[in-house]
């Protein structure tokens, strides 16, 4: 395949809006190829989009669907010759997830939180999401085995458990959600800071985070730890964020990437002492990111309208349910996690919601290096991912932000710094925040760029970067981003002008990390006892079988010297 004459943005390879031809052969980018020609003359061309934090599969997504038949009604689309039927808006069915990402020019999305015990369900759903490539992060932050290893300062056993857990869950990386708090919630409690003792375990959240970060680097995993802070969603929580990040600043990464990725930073950049004096602390957070290089974040942008909050942070969801009097699902995951789901409507006339909206944008605009900030809405917590074009145009257009600001609570300019912010992002910034950076943050070497050997994932938009004024023509830009002119996945045109043309199955990435057998042997003694005493299932039935991942893509990790041992 030849893509002719596009204006290409491929920041990972130092290409910033050059007119050039691209070639794809056997699903990969190459230097030259023959075949089908796609006319992209003068049009915006970028690598396929990569979403590093989204909730697209698994038990909590499905709980959201079950709780929200009202949501299923929105976004219903009948089947076509190519597509199966779509339903839903904040919690779409599996098919719709694939079609809607593909229409926007996205070709990869990662599910951000799966307990090992429920990973089988996650993979059943991931397999049913067509077109896009996927992966799932595995939850470790409230796991009994993890906390015991941390308490005993047995780092090699902890690394062995992380490797074992990733293999059992067919997971991609280490997710930590409100460490210690999810376990405390099993007894109706929570932790109030990263230095609180987790009930019954004699460890602190700080020790869990640092322990898992060390194990992560010991295992040379492609992704860093992926962290949802303690106190997320609470006024005044920005100090927790900064103090927690400071715990990790001297750790050496095992690869060319961050040591910690912060999930949906917006929800942890809050000032004030209550919702009454609630204000943005985005400038303090951005300042920290500008002065340090060990951390990246994704925005977790909130948009007005319908959302469904879902997280392993169960005490947070209890608070949401109390606040909104809305439906609430609360769930305990044995020795591993807790979780909750609450539907939500964000209202532009509510001061708190309006400030939250501004904080996400402030963070992205104040952090100078776009490689440190991924564009996300923490789908569907801040807004469904179909609204990414709205977020992108807000970042690119000050007039659009001003138009929105004019409709918000009058206090917003006093409680945030957004009104005075002149920065307008360009296509290089956007290509980094939606393609190059998420791929680098996740450690996906063949994603997010268009160099030879990269996956043949390309999106072409009906926009002429050399003509369109992204500041003034934001309506046009948003429309063009919503339906790519072409989305090419692995060298196949999967979507054209919003029409899905082909639905190849996507791959699922997971990480197999090698560790010394002796460490695994020590670990198994602990695990066999836990399964015998506490788990509701047998250890032999615990791990996700290979049959659940017919399109698996295994990435090897672990200490290189150990690869022969395992």
């Amino acid at each position: 395949m030849i893509i002719k004459g596009g204006i290409v943005y491929d920041p990972a390879n130092g290409i910033y809006g050059d007119e050039m031809d691209l070639f794809i052969d056997k699903g990969r980018m190459v230097e030259a190829a023959k075949g089908e020609e796609i006319d992209a003359r003068g049009l915006l061309v970028m690598p396929g989009g990569v979403d590093a934090h989204s909730h697209i599969a698994g038990k909590k997504v499905n709980t959201g669907r079950i709780m929200r038949p009202d949501d299923a009604r929105i976004g219903t689309e009948p089947r076509t010759a190519v597509c199966r039927p779509s339903t839903g808006y904040t919690v779409p069915n599996c098919y719709a997830m694939g079609y809607r990402y593909a229409r926007m020019g996205y070709t990869t999305a990662f599910e951000a939180a799966t307990p090992i015990l429920e990973a089988r369900h996650t993979h059943e759903e991931l397999e049913e999401i067509p077109i896009i490539d996927k992966g799932a992060l595995t939850l470790f932050g409230n796991n009994w085995q993890v906390m015991e290893c941390v308490r005993d300062k047995d780092l090699t056993k902890l690394a062995a458990y992380v490797a074992w857990g990733l293999r059992a869950a067919k997971g991609y990386g280490v997710k930590i959600v409100n460490p210690g708090g999810g376990e405390a919630w099993g007894f109706g409690g929570n932790v109030k800071s990263q230095n609180d003792i987790v009930p019954n375990f004699d460890v602190t959240p700080a020790e869990i985070i640092v322990g898992l970060a060390k194990a992560n680097e010991m295992l040379n995993l492609p992704h860093s730890i992926h962290l949802h802070f303690n106190n997320l969603g609470k006024p005044g929580n920005y100090t927790t964020a900064i103090e927690t990040l400071d715990l990790l600043k001297d750790l050496k990464p095992s690869r060319m990437r961050q040591v910690v990725h912060v999930a949906h930073m917006q929800f942890s950049a809050y000032g004030g002492t209550s919702w009454r004096d609630f204000e943005s602390k985005a400038p303090a957070i951005a300042d920290y990111f500008n002065c340090h290089n060990h951390a990246t974040m994704d925005m977790g942008q909130l948009l007005f309208g319908s959302a469904t909050t879902m997280t392993a942070d169960a005490p947070l969801e209890y608070g949401n349910a109390r606040l909104t009097h809305n439906k609430w699902s609360n769930h305990d995951i044995e020795l591993e996690e807790s979780s909750g789901v609450v539907p939500m409507v964000y209202n532009r006339k509510m001061l708190v919601n309006a400030v939250q909206w501004a904080i996400g944008l402030e963070l992205a605009l104040l952090v100078k290096d776009p490689w440190k900030v991924l564009m996300t809405t923490d789908h569907p917590n801040g807004s469904p991912f179909v609204n990414y074009p709205e977020v992108i145009t807000l970042l690119m257009s000050k007039p659009k932000r001003d138009l929105e600001m004019a409709t918000l609570h009058e206090q917003v300019p006093k409680r945030t710094t957004l009104a005075g912010m002149e920065r307008e992002m360009d296509w290089t910034d956007i290509a980094i925040m939606t393609r190059a950076a998420p791929a680098r943050v996740l450690g996906l070497e063949d994603k997010g760029h268009l160099g030879p050997g990269a996956d043949g994932d390309v999106s072409i938009y009906d926009l002429r970067p050399e003509e369109v004024d992204t500041s003034l023509d934001h309506v046009l830009v948003k429309k063009a981003l919503a339906n790519a002119k072409y989305t090419i996945k692995g060298g196949v045109v999967v979507s054209k002008e919003g029409q899905i043309l082909a639905t190849p199955p996507g791959r699922t990435f997971w990480v197999d990390a090698a560790v010394p057998q002796a460490d695994t042997d020590r670990l198994m003694v602990d695990l066999e006892e836990k399964f015998a005493k506490y788990y509701s299932i047998q250890i032999a039935n615990y791990a996700v079988q290979d049959a659940y991942l017919p399109h698996a893509q295994i990435i090897r990790a672990g200490l290189p010297v150990l690869s022969e041992v395992a």
Partner: protein, 256 residues
């Protein structure tokens, strides 16, 4: 005034989804354009003229000036008058499920009976049923927090169970009996039931429910005073106290 008359060509064994039979959809179209509007029968897409005969004035008119007359049996035809904002839809027989749902204005009059979900999530306008109505009249569809928010519904006969579930506004008047749980989770609408019912107002937080006949009242309602309305005595209750509700429930005294 433009009048368009529609009649089914055959009796439908498989039900028809016909949200396009509405004054708003018809108003700007000529007859031949109306004929080619999409309807679904089961999983087959069809045009209106495949299933119905369409007659009347050819020239487009405003929605206010549009009247649709439905002749014959529509008990297997769903979603008639969905979202209509003005004009009149006159059904001379029975009508299928979800008629007048999300209606915002105008008049939907039904000479026969209406099936379930009539005028669910209605915002405004008026619905009159000369016969009986099915379950979930004026309610909110599965998962929805608000049912009817405005407008008026009148049923001359009886209504089924769960009428006005999640009611957020507007008024519903049933002259006959109502099935179980009328006004469940009522958040601010008004319901009048001329006959009898069972367990009205469960989980209601606001609004008023008046039952002229007999009603079994939930134990979570607090009995207050006897009040006179239009010369009739009613026992007043407040509740539902399970949800700290401030709703008013009035049940006729001495009718039994």
């Amino acid at each position: 005034m433009r009048t368009i008359t529609i009649a089914p060509k055959n009796a439908f064994r498989i039900s028809v989804e016909a949200e396009n039979i509405s004054t708003d959809k018809f108003a700007p179209l000529t007859l031949s354009q109306i004929n080619s509007l999409v309807v679904w029968q089961g999983n087959r897409q069809k045009t209106l003229s495949d299933l119905f005969t369409v007659e009347g004035d050819d020239a487009p008119a405003t929605t206010e000036e549009t009247t649709i007359k439905l002749i014959g049996d529509y008990s297997q035809v769903k979603r008639i008058g969905e979202g209509m904002t003005a004009g009149v839809v006159e059904v001379q027989g029975n009508v299928g499920m979800h008629a007048g749902n999300n209606m915002k204005g105008g008049l939907l009059s039904i000479a026969g009976n209406a099936d379930d979900w009539l005028a669910r999530e209605m915002r405004g306008g008026k619905v009159i049923v000369m016969g009986n109505a099915g379950n979930y009249l004026g309610g909110g569809y599965r998962g929805e927090k608000c049912g009817m928010r405005g407008g008026e519904i009148e049923v001359r006969g009886n209504a089924g169970a769960y009428l006005g579930e999640h009611l957020c506004g507007g008024s519903i008047r049933i002259l006959g009996d109502a099935g179980d749980f009328p006004g469940a989770a009522n958040q601010g609408g008004t319901i009048f039931i001329g006959g009898s019912t069972y367990l009205p107002g469960a989980e209601m937080s606001k609004g008023t429910i008046t039952v002229k006949g007999e009603a079994k009242v939930l134990p979570s309602f607090l009995k207050t005073e006897i009040v006179q309305v239009d010369g009739l005595a009613f026992q007043k209750y407040t509740g539902d106290n399970v949800d700290n509700g401030k709703g008013e429930l009035m049940v006729g005294v001495g009718s039994s």
